[in-house]
């Protein structure tokens, strides 16, 4: 019996380690897969992309709402000194600008019903400043939601979305949208 103590102890340690590792990495892996899928389906890097109105035929993300207008912007702030300028156009009904880190956390949301909004998104470790949000991860997703439960309201929301901006800024210069 004594000779099995070592292998049993190793099995327990491996089980605990693998359990914790799987839980730790699962959200990042799933989020990474989602970001890759969004990229393959045309959601741009550093630019808002407005997918079609959510229907069974166009849905891209689990549990999307058919009553909301969505616009997505993938970002990558891996290089130091970069930041994003994010602007959300005016909309007379509910709208929000939400930020999701690579670990899936919704680390910030700006509600701006009836008016436009703008904010800077800074790389991890940046000092916080007025009008700026610090991202906890280099990569993530920014999402605009607008209440648009009918085809007419969706068309109006899409028109309002022409004022949305998600621009990469490098040392006071505004970079061109990524070509991908």
């Amino acid at each position: 019996m004594k000779r099995w103590l070592g292998p049993i102890l190793v099995a327990v340690l491996c089980a605990a380690g693998m359990h914790m590792a799987a839980l730790h990495f699962a959200p990042t892996v799933i989020m990474g897969q989602a970001m890759s899928t969004l990229a393959q389906r045309g959601v741009a890097l550093h630019r808002f992309t407005n997918p079609e109105r959510v229907t069974p035929q166009t849905q891209q993300v689990v549990r999307s709402s058919p009553d909301l207008y969505y616009a997505l912007c993938r970002y990558d702030l891996s290089n130091p000194g970069m930041q994003l300028l994010v602007e959300m156009g005016d909309w007379p009904d509910y709208q929000s600008l939400s930020f999701f880190a690579a670990q899936t956390d919704n680390f910030a949301t700006l509600r701006s019903t009836g008016e436009a909004a703008a904010v800077r998104l800074l790389p991890p470790g940046s000092p916080a400043g007025e009008g700026a949000i610090v991202s906890p991860s280099a990569k993530g997703i920014i999402l605009i939601r607008r209440l648009a439960p009918s085809a007419e309201r969706y068309a109006a929301a899409a028109a309002a979305g022409k004022a949305d901006r998600c621009r990469l800024v490098w040392k006071d210069r505004i970079a061109a949208p990524a070509q991908e």
């Binding site: 099995w4 359990h19 914790m20 799987a22 699962a26 959200p27 009553d67």
Partner: protein, 199 residues
């Protein structure tokens, strides 16, 4: 050599148990019960108010990544899900249900039907949800059925959904919903009307 094989087997078995238990406890294994989560239950509607927050435990994070990616934190929106009717039976495409409720303690609300894969059911009926703007103020009713019912003001189509669940979204929830959800929220009722032979 035998000793080496024993340790190698221990690593493989331990790793498999650890991986399997993590996926099972986070509800990530195929066929997992999507309702086996959450720390809030209001008359059968379940939610986890840690969704989207940095305080979410690793099990919640993993589950949300799979079933509710890009969900908002509770200060902006809360999400309740229910997969059974008032009698506790699973919601099925073969049955017809009456969904009823009243005003909700939120700036805007909706109820949307999703299939077992957390996707909108593959139909082109254009009847996927009901929301505050369509329901109007006060009491409201909708019929959940695979075919458009006669005489109903509101219809949510379950065609091609097989077994399904409903998600109640409360945007801009009143603070009481977060603090005392069981008293602040009267969620919609789901009454089974008839059942056929389909799955």
């Amino acid at each position: 050599m035998r000793r080496f094989l024993a340790y190698l087997l221990a690593v493989v078995i331990g790793g498999a148990i650890g991986l399997g238990s993590a996926l099972w406890m986070a509800g990530l294994l195929p066929g997992a019960n999507t309702m086996a989560f959450g720390n809030v239950d209001v008359r059968g509607w379940r939610s986890d108010f840690a969704i989207g927050s940095e305080a979410a435990d690793p099990y919640t994070r993993a589950r949300v990544a799979r079933y509710g990616l890009l969900a908002l934190a509770k200060s902006e929106a809360v999400y309740f899900t229910r997969a059974t009717d008032e009698d506790g039976a699973p919601l099925r495409e073969a049955c017809t249900y009456r969904l009823s409720g009243g005003a909700m303690p939120a700036g805007w609300w909706s109820v949307t039907l999703y299939d077992a894969a957390s996707m909108l059911p593959a139909n082109s009926d254009g009847a996927l949800s009901i929301d505050a703007s369509r329901a109007g103020a006060g009491a409201w009713e909708a019929v959940i059925a695979a075919q458009r019912p006669e005489g109903a003001d509101h219809w949510i189509s379950s065609r091609n959904a097989a077994t399904f669940d409903l998600t109640l979204r409360l945007y801009m929830p009143e603070p009481a919903v977060i603090e005392t959800p069981t008293t602040a929220l009267v969620p919609p009722r789901i009454e089974r009307l008839t059942c056929g032979d389909a799955p």
